[in-house]
């Protein structure tokens, strides 16, 4: 039974990229893996899952009680099929973080949260203290392994495969004590800083509240969230909730572009898990260049309009 089961995440239409990231972690563990898709009318989603490279089988469970992402019913269902697997993985998204511990407790095992690297089938790395420390975790080999996979640490596997799809109905009974009401998605405004994939931030060098429009316009152009350094917030150039850093928001977007931010350690603390950090600053000695993946020593007041032209 050295086989891994991945819990697929989806929104009723499409498979969430977190599933292919879990698959990436599963292949690092080095065992064959299956994917379970739970929901109602999930045939299309199951196909998307079946395309993930290396998937052994996709189990598509179609049931009304599974139509919404409620941990209580999804956990009960997963437990019924746990016997065939040594490892059960879910994503570190809110869906996985809600669901997986319930599964682990029903199975009577501990859970490893946020696997960021695999050192062996039962040996993992994970961040603690908001990423300020990385620990090595060894799980006992004698019991089942339930874990969440830190999605930011893994690249999604390609989708060129075609695994077999096994459709079946639910094995667990429905639970009535938890009822789904609705979901209000963020809407079309500028994305929330904390969940935005891209963030454009401005610092003191913007020099006025009006000039921050440059930041907003570039952010809107590429669908990014807008942030700021504490210096800019303190100077009154933008609202407090835009502050990124130690005393503001700690964020990990795929792309972070800092304009006119010197890069005090307090600010860097808030972006150290960002995918790519870009810094634009007139001062070529600004500390932010020491952590920037791409640096440009130039005046933001000329760079931003040029970028807008090029990206429009």
């Amino acid at each position: 039974m050295s086989r891994t089961l991945i819990i697929a995440e989806h929104d009723g239409q499409d498979l969430n990229p977190s599933t292919a990231k879990c698959a990436s972690c599963a292949s690092a563990i080095g065992q064959e893996y299956d994917i379970v898709v739970m929901g109602s009318a999930v045939a299309d989603i199951a196909k998307q899952a079946a395309a993930i490279d290396g998937a052994g089988a996709v189990i598509a469970i179609d049931a009304e009680q599974l139509s919404k992402p409620l941990a209580v019913s999804h956990a009960a269902e997963v437990v019924t099929m746990a016997d065939g697997y040594s490892h059960i993985l879910g994503p570190s998204t809110t869906y996985g973080r809600d669901l997986m511990p319930r599964i682990a407790a029903l199975l009577g095992v501990n859970q490893v949260s946020d696997i960021s690297a695999v050192e062996g089938p039962h040996h993992f790395k994970r961040p603690i203290y908001a990423g300020n420390a990385i620990v090595d975790i060894q799980a006992p080999e004698s019991v089942k392994m339930v874990a969440t996979v830190r999605v930011a640490s893994w690249k999604a596997l390609e989708s060129t495969g075609s695994a077999t799809i096994e459709e079946r109905s639910a094995a667990a009974s429905a639970s009535s004590h938890t009822r789904y009401v609705d979901l209000q998605s963020g809407g079309g405004e500028r994305p929330d800083l904390q969940i935005a994939n891209r963030v454009i931030s401005g610092g003191r060098a913007l020099a006025s509240k009006d000039n921050f429009d440059l930041i907003y316009s570039l952010a809107d152009l590429i669908g990014a969230g807008a942030g700021a350094s504490r210096a800019a917030v303190d100077a009154g150039y933008c609202p407090n909730d835009m502050q990124v850093g130690q005393t503001g928001k700690i964020i990990a977007p795929d792309l972070y572009i800092a304009f006119g931010i010197s890069g005090a350690i307090q600010h860097i603390t808030g972006i150290k898990d960002a995918g790519t950090i870009v810094a634009v600053n007139k001062d070529a000695d600004a500390p932010i260049f020491e952590v920037a993946d791409i640096g440009l020593a130039a005046d933001l007041f000329s760079v931003i309009p040029e970028m807008k032209q090029l990206l429009a």
Partner: protein
Amino acid sequence: MKILVGIKRVVDYNVRIRVRSDGSGIDTDGVKMSINPFDEIALEEALRIREAGLAEEVIVVSLGGNECQQQLRTGLAMGADRAIQIDTDADLQPLTIARAFFKIVEKEQPGLVLMGKQAIDGDNSQTGQMLAALWDRPQATFASGLSLSGNTATVVREVDAGLETIEVDLPAVVSVDLRLNEPRFVKLPDIMKAKRKPLDVISMDDLGVTAENDLKVSHYAPPPKREKGIMVEDAAQLVAELRNRGLV
């Protein structure tokens, strides 16, 4: 109705975390310790529910050595009616903690259990969900809104896709997120009153809970440092580089 609130003693959120140079753990020598901020929000919510007349008693529970009595006393000073310390020196994992909590739940029969969505030290985000599973009751995690009506709680959850609302029958476990409320300050005279409120100590042995099949933490390391990348000459090169990397 009773409300049980789980609180954990953690290194204060403002303390700079430093991994010991020998990799044996986090340097906690002389650092400030606090109630896990999410747990503090959970307690604040419990107090507001009681103050709204929807609950009679708020009980704070913590697992740890005698040092966690400091956080329990703070909880009492905030307004909890009594406290329970589950006495243990071991570094327990969420499943064991959930089992111990469950024993308290069986004894106290609360209508609602509140706790933070995660502790800011281990970042596990497991205990509430595990307790709900052991108890075979509903769970509502990452709550940023909570309202009670009769035997039902309506919970707004902060999920990746937005705000999800669910309804759960009580008793239930609710884990809370940052935006639920802003905890109150403790009034100085309440610190004195808290000294006279009951704080019961129960050992893990008396609860009959033992840790098993624990995960082993073998090494601590600081996160890898970010390296200096490339410098580009102008906006055009910058945009080209971003396109190249598939970032725009």
